[in-house]
């Protein structure tokens, strides 16, 4: 189990000693929040998943869309 503790300590110390890295992590977390909690939920619905119940319905819809 010592190796798990070593890995934990490695990351813990690494994060603790960060300077510029802290700012960068804030940017990463804000970015991920905007992407997943705002864009994904409110603006990017799964169109086929939400509008059709079965794969068969989806395939029929797509065939209608891609044929003239």
């Amino acid at each position: 189990m010592g190796w798990i503790k070593n890995i934990y300590q490695f990351y813990y110390q690494g994060f603790k000693q960060m300077t510029l890295g802290k700012t960068l992590w804030v940017i990463i977390l804000v970015k991920l929040f905007i992407m997943f909690a705002v864009f994904r939920i409110f603006f990017f619905k799964d169109f086929l998943g939400n509008n059709f119940k079965t794969d068969q319905e989806r395939s029929i819809h797509v065939i209608e869309e891609i044929t003239n």
Partner: protein
């Protein structure tokens, strides 16, 4: 069909995707190339044991970290867009796009959580060799991670290794290796990643030039310039070679893109290579008249150079835009009208097949066997996407054919800007290396400014490459099988406009953050780290 298309929606969806992809591509190439430059610098440190090289490596590693942190996950937005704005496309490509993207996601996760962590946290905590291995693995992992998305893109440019299942309307991969090793995928990966190497080398030279201009960190700048210019020369030669391979592939699989990029309106044997030109009147019907399309033409003074590049033979025939649209019997080129007819026929068979509810009926078996027969796949399904442009009214059909031609001026200028800058960069690397090894870099203000200016030029060349690849292949999302108008989800264009504006704001904020932090770190220099 075209009368029912909301072109405002199609154009906004394209603009949204282009905005996201191009912003994403502002961050990626520096990561791809700078990771290798770090690995070279750290290798020198480990081999020589000189602390100066550790200091140099750590400085560039900080800038790498800034770029990586701001850019990471910006590509995820593209995946959101597939499901919402490009749902027909998403369904149609089936597992072919999903598999490479899943591999990319897993690779990126493991790479980022292990090797990059060791790179940044591991100084003085792991052995020198372990740390060096982590730096090399970060470089290799980043470039291998890019492989998968570029394989998916290569498949869109040249769909191989799959069969279309008419019952599910999805393409199914039947040969992974054909998808992975298709010339389009190989040239996409090698050319795109190597262009990132060139950009990163120019970034290092540009920042080092700024230090020399400010008479700061002179030793760091000189040493960095030597590493970057050697890497830049090797990468430039590699990028030219992969570009040549890419051109040969494009000429075979996407001849319209090649004709547009070269401004070749009428096909010819002994086709010349244009060094540069200024186009005039080359949109719509003007493409097909006999007027000169160039205000200025500057050909490479070697007759048949384009033919030689493509065929390895100066007498080889290179089709022009007219040949591709109107067909050329002598060279076995089908006209667009014929391809539209065949694609329309393929679509009608698929519709008939779908309309039969009883899948055990003999009628279903007849249509199914017809649709999946090798002859049908080769002569009709191959042109499936062209069917979207069919119209029984000849006048409307003629107008629709014009929609199968990409934006010629944009493709042409982007291609020549990319190629021209590529050769200029090679020259810049050679001049920097020559002066650096002779220790004549001092007091060369003109050279420092050239180095600094080469950074935005590198991004310009990089973005131009994407424009050639993506605008040049229009109207195809999947070459010959699915046009953009069929791929787009029929949702309100106002929703797409809203997300376009949101993305523009978010990505611009990220870019400003990157530039601000990057400039601050460069001003601090290595002593600030």
């Amino acid at each position: 069909m075209l009368e029912n298309i909301d072109f405002s929606l199609v154009n906004w969806s394209r603009a949204q995707f282009a905005l996201t992809a191009m912003y994403h591509w502002l961050f990626v190439p520096l990561t791809l190339g700078l990771s290798f430059i770090l690995a070279f610098m750290e290798t020198i440190y480990v081999r020589t044991g000189k602390p100066e090289w550790k200091r140099i490596t750590k400085f560039w590693m900080t800038l790498f970290g800034v770029n990586f942190a701001i850019g990471v996950a910006t590509g995820i937005i593209l995946e959101f867009e597939f499901g919402t704005n490009w749902s027909n496309y998403s369904w149609f490509v089936g597992d072919i796009f999903g598999t490479p993207l899943a591999i990319e996601g897993i690779m990126a996760f493991f790479m980022e959580s292990t090797f990059i962590a060791i790179m940044f946290f591991g100084w003085n905590k792991v052995s020198k060799k372990t740390h060096l291995a982590a730096t090399w693995l970060t470089a290799l992992g980043a470039n291998l991670s890019a492989l998968w998305i570029l394989v998916a893109n290569g498949w869109m440019q040249n769909p191989v290794g799959m069969w279309f299942n008419p019952e599910t309307a999805r393409n199914e991969m039947n040969n992974f290796w054909e998808v992975l090793l298709s010339p389009s995928a190989v040239s996409k990966w090698t050319h795109t990643t190597s262009s990132g190497f060139v950009l990163a080398a120019l970034f290092v030279i540009g920042v080092s030039s700024w230090f020399l201009l400010k008479k700061r960190e002179v030793q760091l700048a000189k040493k960095s310039i030597i590493i970057a210019s050697v890497f830049g020369i090797v990468s430039s030669v590699y990028v030219i070679a992969t570009g040549d391979f890419s051109a040969k592939t494009v000429a075979r699989t996407q001849p319209m893109k090649m004709a547009a990029a070269e401004g070749l309106f009428v096909g010819t044997e002994r086709a010349p290579l244009l060094a540069f030109g200024v186009l005039t009147k080359c949109t719509g019907d003007e493409i097909f008249n006999d007027n000169n399309k160039f205000l200025l033409r500057l050909e490479v003074p070697f007759k048949g150079f384009l033919s030689f590049m493509i065929h390895g033979n100066v007498n080889g025939f290179v089709p022009g835009i007219n040949d591709l649209v109107e067909g050329n019997e002598k060279y076995g080129i089908l006209s667009y009208a014929e391809k539209i007819e065949r694609g329309y026929h393929a679509q009608q068979i698929l519709k008939q097949l779908t309309s039969i509810k009883d899948k055990s009926s003999p009628e279903y078996a007849i249509f199914y066997n017809q649709f999946t027969s090798p002859d049908f796949l080769e002569n009709y399904f191959k042109y499936f996407g062209y069917g979207a442009y069919y119209d029984s009214d000849i006048e409307k059909l003629q107008k629709n054919i014009l929609k199968l031609i990409p934006n010629i001026p944009l493709t042409f200028y982007a291609f020549h800007v990319m190629v021209g800058l590529g050769f200029l960069f090679l020259l810049i690397f050679m001049v920097f290396l020559y002066l650096a090894v002779r220790d004549k870099l001092a007091n060369k203000r003109w050279l420092y400014i050239t180095g600094i200016v080469s950074i935005p030029l590198a991004y310009l060349a990089s973005q131009s490459g994407w424009i050639v690849a993506e605008v040049g292949r229009q109207p195809w999302v999947i070459q010959d099988l699915m046009p953009t108008i069929s791929a787009v989800t029929k949702i309100g264009s106002s929703a797409v406009k809203t997300t376009f504006i949101l993305f523009a704001l978010t990505f611009t904020a990220l870019l400003i953050a990157e530039l601000k932090i990057m400039f601050a770190q460069i001003k601090k220099g290595p002593s600030g780290h």
